[in-house]
Amino acid sequence: MATSTPTSADIPAARPLARKRARPGDQIFHAAVFSALLIALAALVWLLISVVAKGATALDWDFLSSQTSSRASRAGFLNALKGSVVLMIITIAVAVPLGFAAATYLEKFAPLSRDELRVITRRRRRALELRRAAGELTGPRLLASRLGIALSAVWARIGPPLNTFVEINLSNLAAVPSIIYGLLGLALFVQIMGISKSLLAGGLTLAILVLPIIIIASREAIRAVPRSIEQGAMALGASRWQAVRSHVLPAALPGMLTGTILAMSRAIGETAPLVVVGGVAFGTAVPSINPLNAANEDLFAMPLQIYTWVDQPQEDTWGPLAAAGIIVLLVTLVVMNLLAIWLRNRFTRRW
């Protein structure tokens, strides 16, 4: 970047700087990649317009407040709305505690390495010998301690590979097609456990479906909290769990919640696993919003109701209803995504 070198004037017969020139190849390439993006965005716009054009007329207060019906002119979205609320409550109640707990364990307590576990085993063995020599340990207690140390030696061997297995398993689970979860839900909840084809069976299935997603997102949020925070707490004499509970988890919470909302926005639009678990409900009774009653309620959900309507043979009469349902579903999704973005921007910390 030296600028004080001789100027071009000092060099005899310097070639003048070339003027800008058109490079058609570059321009075409630029236009091509730009239009690739435009096509994707245009398709989205086309989708939104065709949904709104079809559904806007059907979308009114009656639509939102009436129960479903076998006659298109009277059918409303209320069953689906209430059903989706109950499904979300069940999914959150099951998946969030499990997901947060699993993420905390995997990020903060899972066996880190074989070396570390070996050191711990060695320390415990030394302690045992010391106490045995001092005559503190005898008979069955000595045996129990020896057994404990043998177990921790075994854990040092199998813990780390087990942990690696859990990691790989988790990323694979997140990529399993959702319909497979439907088959699991059908076999496990409906057939084996004998829960009827109800909101409860659907909610539990969705909970299993989003659990890996919540775990992965929560782990990322926990990982984003610097280790120095945890170490600062431990240097004050906190145990690891105290440090994690009081400082790491509160700092990671906004990120964990953001991940949870995004996982829920995936769950709320899922159709395939619900069809497999619950089939298509023929009843019209509006489910109660009380989740404790969910085992007795027919399986209704926004995407399921939309599917029922799209699948009807008389497209002209049912199409507008389906489109109106889609508008409601999409608005819900956009609100959830905005909430997640707001949460992320509002509470994300620069460390």
Binding site: V119, R124, A127, P226, I229, S246
Partner: protein, 299 residues
């Protein structure tokens, strides 16, 4: 950029890691009158390290260190990067336990008791030996909560008087008394670091370990922390790791110089080269490697 030191006055704090002040003139050293305090002021030994080795996995990071740290003194650990001085500091509150694969050999006693005896509780130990880290790491909470956490964990009653007392002690009270419930991350870097010191002394430790507490701070904040260390010495034993030799010279009573030993096989590990009263180490070092380092001939 390369040669600004030719024109600008010597800077107190050099952020460039591991590069000693070149050609430092010894008489320029700003050694405090009281920093030359005879090391015999209190002969109570707090830590006694004997033959300490630290391994990280197979790698030997620190070899065969013998060192005694005395009560109510400031002991500085200096030396080039990778010499193991921070590693040694972290042995003193068993923070190395938290690093996977780290193993401490030899013995370290705390008031004559083996700290690494298998039945010693490391959590309880850390309550008595506070630590301040290189980068200020306040909890992402209010100033008040930063102080009260350690107190609660240690069963100390939390009240406003106590909070004020601790903050005054850390020379932070006047700057934060109106914003105790504000987020600690709104403070400047120097204030954050003093908050971390306040947090450490709030739990009544006997020792405070400081791991390059000023390396992320500007010169003015650095001076404020150094002043604070001198007052804290009255009540606490302080061990500080620093890259800044002037700082070691200004604040410490004793200085331990660590260096890197390069073996023929290519292995390198940290060793303790010299340990003495600070004034001796800087004015008349016994070990040629110390001489080279403090005069900038190292490397």
């Amino acid at each position: 950029m390369a040669d600004s030191r030719l024109t600008s006055p010597p800077i107190l704090h050099r952020p460039t890691e591991g590069r000693p002040e070149p050609r430092m003139e010894l008489p320029e050293l700003n050694i405090q009158a009281d920093a030359g305090l005879p090391p015999t002021a209190d002969e109570v030994v707090v830590f006694q390290a004997t033959g300490v080795n630290v391994h990280y996995g197979k790698f030997l990071a620190l070899k065969d260190v013998d060192l005694a740290i005395h009560r109510n003194e400031i002991t500085a650990l200096i030396g080039p990067s990778g010499c193991g001085k921070s590693t040694f500091l972290r042995c003193l509150n068993r923070m190395n336990d938290l690093i996977p694969g780290a193993e401490v050999g030899g013995t370290i006693t705390f008031h004559g008791e083996d700290m690494y005896a298998p039945d010693v509780d490391p959590v309880d130990l850390r309550r008595r030996i506070g630590m301040v880290f290189q980068k200020p790491n306040p909890f992402p909470k209010s100033i008040r909560e930063n102080l009260s956490f350690g107190m609660k964990v240690n069963g100390i009653r939390v009240d406003d008087d106590r909070i004020e007392q601790v903050l005054r002690h850390a020379a932070l009270w006047d700057e934060v008394k109106d914003k105790l419930d504000q987020d600690a991350y709104a403070l400047s870097g120097g204030q954050q670091q003093r908050l971390c010191i306040a947090r450490a002394i709030a739990v009544n430790p006997e020792v405070i370990l400081m791991d390059e507490p000023c390396s992320a701070l500007d010169p003015i904040s650095t001076l404020a922390i150094e002043d604070l260390m001198r007052t804290l010495r009255e009540e606490y034993t302080i061990v500080i790791v620093t890259h800044n030799m002037q700082q070691a010279a200004r604040v410490s009573d004793r200085t331990a110089f660590f260096t890197v030993q390069q073996l023929d096989g290519g292995d390198r590990h940290g060793i303790l080269a010299e340990y003495n009263a600070t004034e001796r180490v800087f004015r008349a070092p016994e070990d040629p490697r110390t001489q080279d380092y403090i005069t900038g001939r190292f490397g």
